[in-house]
C-alpha cells in the first residue's frame, strides 16, 4: 500500500482519505465472534479505520513464549479488518497503557525490577540495553505479522511518552527499529501535552485529547474544556506544514474505576453532545485524521485490567461493552456518513463567511476547500444552556441548541450536479441522485440546478414543505423541524431530497450496495437490522432515493429468561482444613521477594504458608496487596485490603495483628497461612507498572519473614489453564472461599438478538469472581459497588440450541466465613439479564433493486 501525505491529508494509493478511526481492544473481546461483530458495527457506522493496540502482555505469558492462536490470533483479527475493508492504525507499544495491567508489559518483564521500563525512572531518562533487547524480541514477533497485512496505514511507536528533559534517544531507537523490521508506513507518536514532543523524530505528528476526565463537575459548567482543541491549528500547524493534523486519541468516553464512577454516570455526563462538539471542533481546525478512543467497549475479563479498573471496560463508548449502539454512536455515525460523502480533506481556514451573519455568538470557524474557493463550510457551536438564534444573509434562520455544534454548507457542489446554495440543516449523506439532510431543526435551503433550467418541487411525502422562491435555475424551500420519527421525501428535478427527524437520523443506514434504511437501531453481522421494541417501523429507501417503502414489524414474543438454580457447592479453601495434604504444592518464595511477580504469579490469588513451630510471637505485621486474610491454625486472625491510590500511586498500608489471644497449639504445630487476592498491576502511567502484588512484608515481632514463606500461586486464577482438583472437595461447614456451580441453557429465537449479562442483586459477599465456561468474566467487590451487571461475552457464552453453559461464582468472605446459611441464595439475587431484546429485520433489497 502506498501511503503519502501532505499538509491536508493522507493520500492512500493516490487517493485522498479522511481517516475516520475508532479504537477497539481485541484483548478485551475474548472471542473471534466478538471481533467480527464489533468490527462490522464499526464499519456500518461509517468508520473507515480501526485503531488497534497490540498488547505484549496478552501474547507473552512467559519469557520467550508467544501465543498468536485462538483469541490471540492477530492474523485472523487483521484478516477480518481486511475483509470488511477497514484500514488499520497499528499500535504495538511496547507500552500501551490502555488501563491494561502493567500497561501491557508482560508479567515476566515486570518482575525484572532492575530494568527501567521505557528507559525511564521517575521521569528521568535512563537507557537500558536489556530493556531494548526485550522490546526488540516483542517487535520481532508482532511486526512481521503486521507487515503481512496490507491495510495498515499508520503505526505508532511508544504511547504518550515523555521524560523530564525530553531526551530523543529512545524514540529515535524505536523509530529505527521499526524501519529495520521493514515497516514502511508513516510512523507517529501521540503527544499527551499537545506541545510538539518528538515531532522531529516521527513522520506524522499526533496528539491525544481528553477534554473531560473529571466527573465531579459537569463539563457543561466549564465549556473551557475544549480550549486545547480550539487552539490546535494555531499551536500545531507550525509542526505540520507538510503533514496533516492528526488526533491519535480523541475522547469518545472514559474509564470507570473502583473508586470512581459507574458507566451510567460517565455516559450520562458526557452525553451525545460531547463527542459531537469535540469532533466538529477538530474538523473546524482542519484536522483530517481522527481516532475516537474508544469507539467500542470491552471487558476486563480474567485479570487484564489495571488495578484501578473494575470488570466492565464499557468506557461509555459509542458501541457499548454489550455491543449495543448508543446515542454517542448515532452522533459519530452521522458525522462519519457526512465526511464519507462530502469532502473536507483539503480545507483552509477562511476568516469570513461570504454571507452576513446576524450575530457571531455561535460562530466557530469557516473553512473552504483549497481547490474550490467558492465552497464554504460554516462551523457553529453553542456552549451555553440557552439556544442561540442567528440569521444568515437575512434569509436563513438557524437555531443552535445548547451544547450543539453544526457544520452548514454554502455553495457545495453535490454529486448529483446540483449545488447546495445554503442550508440551515446539516447534510448527512449524498450520492449521485440523493441528498439526505437532518431535519432535526427548521430547514431552509437553496438549491441551484446544474443548468439554468426551471426547477419544480414535488414529493410523495412532502407534508409541511413549502416552496419559498423559485427562479431560473434555483429554488428555496423550507420545512419545519420534523417530529423525531418522521421523514420527508422531495424531488427537485432529478434530485431526491430526504429530510429526517432526529430519530430517523440516528437510525439511518447506508448499505454497501447504496440502498438505505431508516428506523433501525443496529446493523447486525448476519445482514439483518435490529430494532428496539419501542419502535418497530422500518423505511426502506432504494439507492436512487425515489422509492421508500414502510415496513411495520410484529412485536417479538416475550423472551423467557432461564432461572439459575441447582447450585453445587464446593469448599475452595481446603488449605485451611487439609493443609498437610496440600503442603507439597507450596514452593519456597525466591530469596529476596515474596510478591507475586517474583514468584511467577503475575495475576490472581495465592496462599502463603509459614510454619511457626513453637514460636508464639505477640504481633505480626502484614503488608500485602490487595485483599488478604491471615489464618493461624485454620482460624482467621486478621484481614485487610489495600487499594489506596494517591494521584495514581499506591501507598503502603501495613496492618498489625495482635496475637496475644491467638489460637496457639501447645504442641508446636503452629501454621500461619495468608491468602492474598491481587487486583492487578497499575497501568504504568506514573512509572508504577512494577508495583508488586501479593505478600510484600511479613514482620513477626518486628523481624522480616516474608522471604521464609512458601507460596501456592494461581490457585484461583487462570482456572481454564490450571486443573483444579481442590475444588472437588465438597465437605465443608464454613469456608472463606466457596465455589458455586450451575449449568444453564439459553432460549433460542432467530427473530431476536439478545446480549446477555449476569445481574447480582443484594448478594452480600466481599468478593465474587464470576466464571463463565471457565473464563473469568466478572470481579465483584462489595465495598466498591461499581458494577452489578456483568456482560457474558458472546462466543464465550454458548447460545446454540441446547448448548450448556457452566456458570461458577467464586465467593470470598473472610469475616464471617461463608456457611451453608449464607449460601441460601435466592433466585432473584443472581439472574440472567438481557441488556436489550432487538427484533431482527432484513432489508428488502430485492424489492428495491430499481
Amino acid at each position: 500500500m502506498d501511503i503519502q501525505y501532505d499538509r491536508y491529508s493522507l493520500i492512500i494509493n493516490g487517493q485522498r482519505e479522511f481517516i475516520r478511526s475508532g479504537a477497539m481492544h481485541y484483548f478485551r473481546l475474548p472471542s473471534q465472534e466478538l471481533w467480527e461483530d464489533r468490527l462490522y458495527k464499526l464499519k456500518a457506522a461509517g468508520y473507515n479505520t480501526v485503531d488497534l493496540y497490540f498488547c505484549w502482555n496478552y501474547h507473552s505469558p512467559e519469557q520467550g513464549v508467544y501465543d498468536f492462536t485462538g483469541i490471540r490470533d492477530v492474523r485472523r483479527l487483521l484478516q477480518i479488518t481486511q475483509e470488511l475493508g477497514l484500514y488499520v492504525i497499528a499500535r504495538p507499544g511496547p507500552y500501551i497503557n490502555a488501563e491494561y495491567s502493567g500497561g501491557g508489559f508482560p508479567g515476566w518483564l515486570l518482575a525484572k525490577r532492575d530494568i527501567p521500563l521505557r528507559n525511564r525512572r521517575e521521569g528521568v531518562f535512563v537507557w537500558s540495553d536489556e530493556y531494548m533487547s526485550y522490546v526488540r524480541e516483542w517487535w520481532e514477533q508482532i511486526i512481521p505479522i503486521l507487515n503481512e497485512a496490507h491495510n495498515i496505514i499508520l503505526m505508532q511507536i511508544e504511547n504518550e511518552y515523555a521524560t523530564l528533559e525530553v531526551e530523543p534517544d529512545y524514540m529515535q531507537a524505536l523509530y529505527q527499529m521499526t524501519r529495520d523490521l521493514d515497516v514502511t508506513v508513516p510512523l507517529f507518536h501521540n503527544d499527551l501535552y499537545v506541545a510538539g514532543l518528538y515531532e522531529d523524530i516521527v513522520d506524522i505528528y499526533s496528539f491525544d485529547n481528553y477534554s473531560v476526565t473529571q466527573f465531579e463537575t459537569d463539563w457543561r459548567e466549564m465549556p473551557e474544556v475544549f480550549q486545547v482543541l480550539d487552539a490546535v491549528e494555531e499551536n500545531l500547524r507550525p509542526f505540520c506544514e507538510k503533514r496533516p493534523l492528526m488526533a491519535a486519541e480523541l475522547q469518545a468516553g472514559w474509564f470507570g474505576t473502583w473508586k470512581g464512577y459507574k458507566y451510567e454516570k460517565i455516559t450520562e455526563l458526557l452525553g451525545r453532545e460531547h463527542i459531537n462538539i469535540s469532533t466538529k471542533s477538530l474538523l473546524g481546525q482542519g484536522l483530517t485524521v481522527f481516532n475516537h478512543y474508544k469507539a467500542i467497549g470491552g471487558t476486563n475479563w480474567d485479570y487484564t485490567g489495571s488495578i484501578e479498573t473494575y470488570t466492565s471496560y464499557d468506557f461509555g463508548a459509542p458501541i457499548s461493552e454489550a455491543g449495543l449502539n448508543t446515542e454517542r454512536l448515532f452522533e459519530s455515525k452521522a458525522l462519519n456518513y457526512f465526511l464519507k460523502s462530502f469532502d473536507l480533506s483539503t480545507t483552509d481556514r477562511v476568516e469570513q463567511f461570504p454571507l452576513a451573519l446576524s450575530n457571531s455568538e455561535c460562530f466557530y470557524a469557516v473553512r473552504s476547500p483549497h481547490d474550490q474557493p467558492e465552497t464554504h463550510w460554516l462551523f457553529l457551536r453553542n456552549l451555553t444552556y440557552e439556544p442561540h438564534v442567528l440569521t444568515v444573509s437575512e434569509q436563513y434562520p438557524v437555531t443552535v441548541q445548547p451544547f450543539e455544534a453544526l457544520i452548514l454548507p454554502y455553495q457545495v457542489k453535490l454529486a448529483s450536479g446540483y449545488t447546495l446554495g445554503f442550508s440551515t440543516a446539516e447534510a448527512l449523506y449524498q450520492n449521485e441522485s440523493v441528498l439526505v439532510l437532518k431535519a432535526n431543526r427548521a430547514v431552509t435551503l437553496t438549491l441551484h440546478a446544474p443548468l439554468s433550467t426551471p426547477m419544480f418541487l414535488n414529493g410523495s411525502h412532502a407534508e409541511g414543505v413549502e416552496l419559498l422562491e423559485s427562479a431560473q435555475g434555483s429554488l428555496t424551500l423550507q420545512c419545519p423541524e420534523l417530529p423525531e420519527d418522521e421523514l420527508r421525501h422531495l424531488t427537485v428535478g432529478s434530485l431526491n431530497i430526504i429530510l429526517l427527524g432526529q430519530r430517523m437520523v440516528d437510525t439511518f443506514w447506508v448499505e454497501e450496495n447504496g440502498n438505505m434504511v431508516a428506523g433501525a437501531d443496529m446493523r447486525l453481522l448476519d445482514g439483518s437490522y435490529g430494532l428496539t421494541s419501542g419502535f418497530l417501523t422500518l423505511y426502506h429507501i432504494n439507492k436512487s432515493g425515489d422509492r421508500i417503502e414502510r415496513e411495520d414489524l410484529p412485536r417479538s414474543q416475550t423472551v423467557a429468561v432461564p432461572t439459575l438454580k441447582h447450585w453445587d457447592i464446593f469448599n475452595d479453601a481446603p488449605e485451611l482444613t487439609q493443609l498437610p495434604a496440600l503442603l507439597p504444592q507450596f514452593k519456597p518464595v525466591v530469596s529476596d521477594a515474596a510478591d507475586f511477580d517474583a514468584n511467577g504469579v503475575y495475576e490472581g490469588s495465592a496462599w502463603y504458608h509459614l510454619s511457626l513451630g513453637n514460636q508464639q510471637p505477640k504481633q505480626i505485621e502484614v503488608n500485602a496487596r490487595h485483599i488478604w486474610a491471615a489464618y493461624l491454625n485454620g482460624q482467621l486472625i486478621g484481614h485487610g485490603h489495600q487499594l489506596v491510590i494517591i494521584y495514581g500511586m499506591e501507598a503502603p498500608q501495613p496492618v498489625k495483628l495482635d496475637l496475644s489471644k491467638a489460637p496457639w497449639h501447645a504442641d508446636g504445630s503452629n501454621e500461619l497461612l495468608i491468602f492474598v487476592n491481587g487486583l492487578g498491576h497499575p497501568k504504568g502511567f506514573h512509572d508504577d507498572a512494577q508495583t508488586p502484588q501479593g505478600l510484600l512484608n511479613l514482620l513477626i515481632d518486628g523481624v522480616e519473614h516474608a522471604g521464609d514463606t512458601t507460596i501456592a500461586g494461581q490457585v484461583y486464577s487462570r482456572r481454564e489453564m490450571v486443573p483444579l482438583p481442590l475444588s472437588e472437595l465438597r465437605d465443608f461447614s464454613s469456608s472463606p472461599v466457596v465455589l458455586l456451580s450451575t449449568i444453564f441453557s439459553l432460549p433460542v429465537d432467530d427473530t431476536v438478538e439478545i446480549p446477555w449479562g449476569l445481574k447480582l442483586q443484594d448478594v452480600d459477599f466481599e468478593r465474587i469472581n464470576i466464571y463463565l465456561n471457565d473464563c473469568l468474566v466478572g470481579r465483584y467487590w462489595r465495598d466498591c459497588r461499581r458494577q452489578e451487571i456483568f456482560y457474558l461475552p458472546q462466543g464465550v457464552l454458548k447460545t446454540k440450541q441446547g448448548a450448556e453453559n457452566k456458570l461458577e461464582l467464586l465467593l470470598i468472605n473472610f469475616e464471617p466465613p461463608i456457611d451453608k446459611q449464607r449460601l441460601s441464595i435466592h433466585p432473584q439475587q443472581v439472574t440472567l439479564h438481557p441488556y436489550s431484546v432487538l427484533t431482527k429485520a432484513f432489508h428488502k433489497t430485492t424489492a428495491l433493486k430499481h
Binding site: 525530553v166 473529571q214 473551557e224 487552539a231 506514573h686
Partner: protein
C-alpha cells in the same frame, strides 16, 4: 508521578514576575497545559523559606482564593493561558536571587512541582 517535561513546566512561569506586593511577595504562573483544576496547594518554597497554604493566596481573575481553601472538594479552576498570581504573606524577604518551587496537585495531572529561578527586586 506524572511526567511533565521540564520545558513545559518552565513555560508556566512568567519570567521576571517575582515582585513585592502588598503585605508580601508574589509571582505569576500561566496555564500552558490545558484547562484543569488545582485540588491542593502543598507549598511554595523560596530558597530555604517554606510557605504553607495558610500563608498563600491565589489571585485568579478578580477572585482572591486562600490557599487553604483549595481542596479536592473545592478545587480552583485554571483555564488555558489564564494567569494566576501567587501571593505569599511575608514582608521580610530581602532582595536577591531565589530558587522558587511551587508544589501543587492538579486533578488532571496529579502532583506538579515547578522549580525556577528568579530575582526579587524592590521597585
Amino acid at each position: 508521578m506524572t511526567v511533565i517535561p521540564n520545558f513545559i513546566l518552565k513555560r508556566m512561569y512568567k519570567d521576571n514576575s517575582l515582585r513585592r506586593l502588598e503585605n508580601g511577595v508574589g509571582f505569576d504562573i500561566v496555564n500552558k497545559l490545558g484547562p484543569g483544576q488545582i485540588s491542593k496547594l502543598n507549598s511554595i518554597t523560596l530558597n530555604e523559606n517554606i510557605y504553607l497554604p495558610s500563608q498563600i493566596k491565589l489571585l485568579i481573575g478578580q477572585d482572591t482564593v486562600p490557599g487553604e481553601s483549595i481542596t479536592e472538594n473545592n478545587p480552583a479552576t485554571f483555564f488555558l493561558n489564564q494567569v494566576i498570581t501567587c501571593h505569599i504573606e511575608d514582608t521580610t524577604l530581602p532582595d536577591g536571587p531565589y530558587q522558587l518551587t511551587l508544589d501543587l496537585v492538579s486533578r488532571e495531572a496529579g502532583k506538579v512541582t515547578l522549580t525556577v529561578k528568579d530575582t526579587l527586586k524592590s521597585a
